[in-house]
């Protein structure tokens, strides 16, 4: 008689655990494409000094307004600066500002939303009216006001006030989503149990509610990174964001680039494509994550 254990007998009936990354690729192929593009941007940003053939601020009057060539893959601008190198370094600016702003905006919004939904009553009322006020401003207008009022505050080469300006319009949106998630989670028995056990409000919000809104948080985060990149580019285009000669995509599109678009269309073509592709990739990834993480979408 063969020595068969109960575990072996049921082994073929237990579904095999598929690697979640593989499952994501199979279920969300477009999202995976978005992920790959985002990854590429990260590689460009991190390895800029090895990938870019020139220093992004290097002026070369011998190569002014040169078209794409083996020496300058994406051509040069009016100062002879290599457009490809500036795009590569621009990825660093876009991702740094984009990610930091999105993380700051989403986190603040999540805390506010969770607090609002958990406590309800007057706290909820006050926070939600503040959210209403902030939502009544168009995103770009709110960001412009913040930049204009706060000015610049460079910390480690990044304008901290620019990050605040971009993050602020994201706070109310995230707060609304976090509040609605919190309202449903707050009705769960484990929250009642936590209350009954005498846990503090802070502990309940931080340890029990916030971990349960991670899924919408991650989804909004990816969507907000795309928005933040676009907003940073818009503010730089308007002269309110990153300043010359820092490599930044919006800045590459702005100012005197418009004067040379006929003689040197590559000056605006490639930064425009870089922004479009980045926003597209983050949006693809965000949408796919939403579908992937939202249980309702799986039904």
């Amino acid at each position: 008689m063969a020595d068969v254990t109960a575990g072996d007998a049921f082994a073929d009936k237990i579904p095999k655990r598929t690697n979640p990354i593989v499952k994501f690729i199979v279920a969300q192929p477009l999202g995976f494409v978005g992920f790959l593009i985002v990854l590429l941007y990260f590689v460009l940003a991190v390895g800029a000094q090895w990938i870019a053939p020139y220093h992004p601020e290097e002026v070369d009057f011998g190569a002014m307004l040169t078209g794409p060539s083996p020496e300058h893959l994406f051509g040069t601008d009016q100062y002879g600066r290599d457009v490809f190198s500036r795009l590569v370094y621009g990825a660093r600016t876009a991702l740094a500002v984009g990610m930091l702003s999105a993380i700051v905006g989403c986190t603040l919004g999540a805390i506010l939303g969770a607090t609002s939904g958990y406590f309800g009553g007057i706290i909820d009322n006050v926070i939600q009216r503040l959210v209403d006020i902030m939502l009544s401003f168009p995103i770009i207008v709110l960001a412009m006001v913040v930049v204009a009022v706060l000015g610049r505050n460079m910390i480690a080469g990044i304008d901290a006030n620019l990050i605040v300006a971009i993050a602020l319009p994201m706070v109310p949106k995230m707060a609304r989503i976090a509040r609605s998630s919190t309202l449903s989670i707050a009705q769960m028995p484990f929250i009642d149990a936590a209350r009954a056990a005498g846990y503090s409000h802070a502990r309940i919000v931080l340890r029990h509610i916030l971990p349960n809104i991670v899924a919408p948080y991650l989804i909004m985060l990816t969507a907000f990174i795309a928005q933040a990149i676009l907003l940073e580019a818009s503010l730089s285009f308007l002269g309110l964001g990153v300043t010359e000669p820092t490599a930044a995509w919006g800045l590459m599109l702005s100012g005197s680039s418009a004067d040379f678009y006929q003689a040197a269309p590559w000056m605006i073509l490639f930064p425009g494509l870089a922004i479009t592709l980045a926003v597209f990739a983050f949006n693809l990834l965000g949408d796919s994550l939403r579908d992937w993480l939202d249980p309702k979408m799986k039904v």
């Binding site: 220093h55 601020e57 290097e58 002026v59 009057f61 002014m64 307004l65 009016q78 100062y79 002879g80 000015g151 610049r152 460079m154 002269g239 300043t243 010359e244 000669p245 820092t246 100012g255 005197s256 004067d259 040379f260 006929q262 003689a263 040197a264």
Partner: protein, 526 residues
């Protein structure tokens, strides 16, 4: 059309433009339509220093003397003065005035009007702003021995005084009107100019018509003019659409190329050195910029000769010179200029010396903040160029670009390492050009905060020297000393580019956008 070919066409146009204009017989009639890219803050010539006032207002007024001619042959001639003489000691100026000159209200012009005008500039009554009071402070007494003679007695010699009598900001007002209301020029426009004021609609336009009683009987040629106040970006489109015939402040090289490529031979291009530069001021009250070696290293790092031509293709800055615009009579000859650190021809040698000086000063990896304005042309490219040049000697620069108000505050409060600023005036004048470069003891706009009184002493000496040859020697010595000490260093000088419709004739490119805007000799070839 490629970038280079457009530039060549523009350059050829610039050469070709003035020759036929001089040869043709002026035609009478027509209304000149031109753009002004800023709104005048006031209509009172004495109260402001902006071209936005000069361009629409100057055609209605006359001045005692005036500047005339193109940038390479600018000279002072009489306007309301028929002739003038200066005493040997330089302390008395006597002007013989034109007879038969009328104000637009029909009243006669006399020496009393000159006296009232200059007294208003020197001692403005309450409620009147005199923006150039300081440069007239050497005038002691104004005498009017008869209706057509005026005598200026100086407190001390001011060798630049003749230029100030030709200032386009010194519009001559009616003494009778000033007696009634000293602020009348800010409320109504009434002078002895070739054109009479018709209307001013804020934010829209200004209209002037020919003054039939103008003292030059065959002038003006135009029936009138209409100035449109528009954003700078609208000028090219406005000219292409036939809205404007001219814009006299100046266009960028890219705008010039756009106009030439789209309008072809319908436009004329005039270019020349502009009495405006980009100046880098070191904050000498902060370390290490109090160290001459550091300042010298930073000026040595900039390859002005190498950047000049190329920057001139894409920005307003082009000319290499010291304290005076390239080609001005006061400028140091190039052979002397290129001996001064920062102007050496060999960029590699300059940079090696710069690195050595930084090392010797103990700051081989210098980091600095460059305070700049958020004005695209030419402040941004000037900042980009300086940062690139300093990077080549290992200097790391943070570019702090802020709005004009914050930029002014930053310079005034000393909240900067190096500031990008400029010097601009209506004439090549040592007194005006050096004013920004003096010590804090002698000038209220000495943002570099140095206390080197040798500069002040030489400045006073040249201003008080009547003999032009002797004055030139002192000015050259002062220029050499100033550039070597490098408290402030000129980066490059502006190149003025004016693109007008080819039918606009009789306008010659002065070296300043403040001068030559009375429109007296302008006519339309149509």
């Amino acid at each position: 059309m490629s970038f280079k070919s457009i530039t060549v066409v523009a350059a050829l146009g610039a050469v070709a433009v003035s020759m036929p204009a001089l040869a043709q017989t002026p035609k009478k009639g027509g209304t000149l339509q031109f753009a002004v890219v800023a709104e005048p803050p006031t209509t009172d010539c004495h109260g402001t220093t902006t071209f936005a006032m000069v361009h629409p207002v100057a055609p209605q007024y006359s001045t005692l003397l005036k500047l005339t001619g193109p940038h390479d042959n600018i000279k002072v001639v009489g306007d309301l003065a028929e002739s003038w003489e200066q005493s040997a000691d330089g302390l008395t100026y006597t002007f013989k005035l034109r007879k038969g000159v009328k104000f637009h209200d029909g009243s006669d012009f006399t020496s009393a009007d000159i006296k009232a005008t200059y007294e208003r500039i020197i001692n403005p009554p309450e409620g009147v702003v005199s923006a150039r009071k300081a440069v007239h402070s050497d005038i002691g007494e104004i005498l009017t021995p008869d209706a057509h003679t005026v005598v200026f007695k100086m407190k001390q010699v001011n060798a630049s005084m003749v230029l100030h009598f030709a200032s386009p900001f010194n519009c001559v007002y009616s003494a009778a009107e000033l007696a009634k209301d000293p602020t009348y020029p800010s409320k109504k426009v009434m002078g002895t100019g070739a054109f009479q004021f018709v209307e001013y609609v804020k934010g829209s336009h200004w209209v002037g018509k020919k003054f039939d009683g103008y003292f030059l009987k065959d002038r003006p040629y135009l029936d009138g003019f209409k100035a449109f106040f528009v954003k700078s970006e609208a000028v090219v489109l406005g000219m292409r659409g036939g809205q404007f015939d001219a814009e006299f402040r100046g266009r960028t090289p890219a705008e010039r190329d756009q106009l030439v490529s789209t309008m072809g031979d319908q436009v004329t291009v005039q270019e020349g050195p502009w009495i405006t530069n980009i100046l880098l001021s070191f904050n000498t009250s902060k370390k290490p910029f109090d160290d001459e070696r550091v300042r010298r290293a930073l000026t040595l790092a900039i390859d002005r000769w190498g950047g000049s031509e190329s920057l001139g293709k894409v920005t307003l800055i082009k000319g290499v010179s010291g304290v005076f615009r390239p080609g001005a009579s006061w400028s140091l000859p190039v052979s002397e200029l290129e001996k001064i650190p920062g102007f050496w021809r060999d960029a590699n040698k300059s940079r090696e010396e710069a690195k050595r000086l930084l090392k010797e000063a103990g700051v081989p990896n210098l980091k600095l903040k460059l305070l700049n304005r958020t004005i695209a042309q030419p402040f941004t490219p000037a900042g980009i160029y300086a940062i690139d040049q300093w990077r080549r000697i290992g200097v790391e620069t943070e570019h702090v670009q802020v709005e004009t108000k914050l930029w002014f505050d930053g310079m005034a409060n000393g909240n900067f390492d190096v500031a990008v600023q400029n010097i601009s005036d209506f004439a090549d004048d040592p007194n005006a050009q050096f004013n920004t470069l003096l010590s804090t003891k002698a000038s209220s706009i000495a943002y570099s905060r140095h206390t080197d009184t040798r500069i002040d002493d030489l400045y006073k000496k040249q201003s008080g020297t009547v003999d032009p040859v002797e004055r030139m020697k002192i000015v050259n010595e002062l220029e050499r000393y100033t550039l070597e000490k490098a408290y402030n260093i000129p980066l490059l000088w502006y190149q003025r580019i004016v693109v007008n419709h080819k039918k606009v004739k009789g306008w010659e490119l002065p070296p300043s956008h403040f001068a030559g805007q009375t429109l007296v000799d302008v006519w339309l070839d149509q």
